[in-house]
């Protein structure tokens, strides 16, 4: 068991060190949601009227509405970023080091996933702190109860990144995948607008949004920020996480793939 914990600590620490070495990544990860929060939301607050929907018990500003979606955005971008770093690791050869370790491959990939999720969560809390400084605050306990929701959502999006990395053969292919994964996932979700608003425009789009696991991750975070549990969002997110993780494991199975062919 100690070998498992030793490897977990080392992999998480390496992710943290790598993150510290890339300060611009931290700044970029924070600037992106802050621009949405402080610029986009300010412009749209007049255009978008929101009715009272759970978990809110009163009228809220648009800035308050999109905070959970922007937390999800940080997790989404980080999940994809870690996928990118896995593809980079593979091109650079350091993935070989991980995959030839005598510990089970599934465990090593899980450690990677946990490391990148931990980094994402730190960024989410930095974002929430800045939002609070701009007077966009959540209930006090919400900052605590959101933690498990962030872990589950982060693992789900990290597993999606892991899955994508097992299928992307070269770094150059990554930009296309970003366009086909990040943007549709983000815009076809409840991150920026409630689903009933979407239904007013198109039932089909509403149904797609309702199927999008990112919608459920955002709703899980939204309810948790208000110290409530959204059971169906939790189940959806857990199921999506399991499916992505299982598919990623198949993608990294040495009998099916040629991880080492490049580099």
């Amino acid at each position: 068991m100690t070998a498992y914990l030793t490897s977990l600590r080392a992999i998480v620490l390496r992710e943290a060190l790598r993150f510290i070495h890339q300060r611009e990544r931290f700044v970029a990860a924070l600037v992106r949601p802050l621009v949405w929060l402080l610029v986009f939301a300010a412009g749209f607050r007049a255009a978008l009227g929101l009715s009272i929907i759970p978990p809110y018990q009163t009228y809220i500003t648009y800035e308050t509405y999109i905070v959970p979606g922007l937390c999800g955005m940080i997790l989404l971008f980080n999940g994809m970023q870690s996928s990118l770093s896995l593809v980079y690791d593979r091109e650079m050869g350091s993935m070989k080091l991980l995959l030839t370790s005598p510990l089970p491959r599934g465990w090593l990939l899980f450690c990677k996933l946990l490391g990148s999720t931990a980094i994402s969560i730190l960024q989410v809390y930095a974002f929430l702190a800045i939002a609070a400084a701009f007077d966009i605050r959540m209930p006090g306990w919400g900052y605590v109860t959101v933690l498990p929701a962030l872990i589950v959502a982060g693992l789900m999006l990290g597993a999606l990144g892991l899955l994508l990395s097992s299928f992307i053969k070269q770094l150059e292919n990554f930009a296309g995948v970003m366009n086909f994964v990040i943007f549709p996932m983000f815009f076809l979700s409840s991150a920026l607008y409630p689903l009933w608003k979407m239904a007013e425009s198109s039932e089909l789009l509403h149904d797609i949004c309702a199927l999008n696991p990112f919608t459920h991750a955002v709703e899980l975070i939204r309810f948790a920020l208000y110290t409530q549990l959204n059971g169906s969002a939790l189940v959806w997110t857990l199921v999506a996480a399991s499916v992505f993780a299982a598919a990623a494991l198949i993608g990294y199975d040495p009998a099916r793939t040629r991880i080492g062919r490049r580099g």
Partner: protein
């Protein structure tokens, strides 16, 4: 005692055969050179021996452990130096080694003493705090060899480890690997340079996915120099 054994390995990329029915064994304490021109299938063979790929047919045993049925026990006996550097360039030599030790379940005092010993063996102790990015090619290779020895493997695989190194660094690393064989480790050394092979070494010549010759280097060379024998066997003009 057999350190490394491969039986009936075949592998293809689509229609292209990379390895066809490759079988060989290397005794413990023997330096075995795997000689082949570029594209012979050396890297594919290394990917199979390290379980980065799984061969659809054939069997691999590392220090008596079957790689298919007992992959973890087999990998624990394996030290690997890949052709391309696999150091994290932003980490120091010591951090790179600590990370690797942890991937093998080693930590704390035991990991530190092994790291110190491995760095001492390769004269890299004073560079422990330097970032891998700041090391020259020879020192990066030494770091990778030190890393591959950390968990005291009985079999060491090195895939063209002298590529890009100057003559002095190349000779030093080749000599060191030969000395390691004398300590009882099984060494498989892939190369396309005949001057890295000594007459008493085991030699496997791989060409166009098949083994052309397997035996003592001096026996394979016969009356010719190893270079000339290699060129005549592979049909490549000097």
């Amino acid at each position: 005692m057999i350190g490394l054994e491969a039986q009936g390995l075949s592998y293809s990329y689509g229609q292209k055969h990379a390895l066809e029915d490759v079988s060989f064994s290397v005794q413990s304490g023997v330096f075995c050179a795997l000689l082949g021109p570029n594209g012979a299938g050396k890297s594919t063979l290394f990917n199979l021996l390290t379980r980065l790929f799984v061969a659809p047919t054939g069997r691999i045993e590392i220090a008596g452990h079957d790689l298919r049925t007992a992959p973890r026990a087999a990998l624990a006996e394996l030290g690997i130096v890949f052709q391309q550097t696999t150091l994290d360039l932003d980490l120091t030599v010591c951090q790179n080694l600590t990370y690797f030790a942890a991937l093998h379940g080693l930590s704390g005092r035991s990991a530190r003493s092994r790291i110190d010993a491995a760095l001492d063996q390769l004269d890299m102790r004073e560079r422990a705090g330097e970032k891998a990015r700041d090391l020259n090619g020879g020192h990066r290779r030494r770091t990778e060899i030190a890393r591959a020895l950390l968990h005291d493997p009985s079999v060491l695989l090195l895939d063209e480890p002298t590529v890009g190194l100057d003559a002095a660094a190349r000779a030093s690393i080749t000599d060191y690997a030969h000395a390691l064989a004398e300590t009882g480790k099984t060494i498989l050394w892939a190369t396309h340079l005949t001057d890295e092979v000594q007459p008493g070494d085991d030699l496997i010549i791989l060409h166009q996915a098949r083994i052309l010759a397997h035996g003592k280097a001096r026996d394979i060379a016969g009356d010719l120099s190893l270079q000339d024998r290699f060129l005549s066997l592979t049909g490549v003009q000097a």
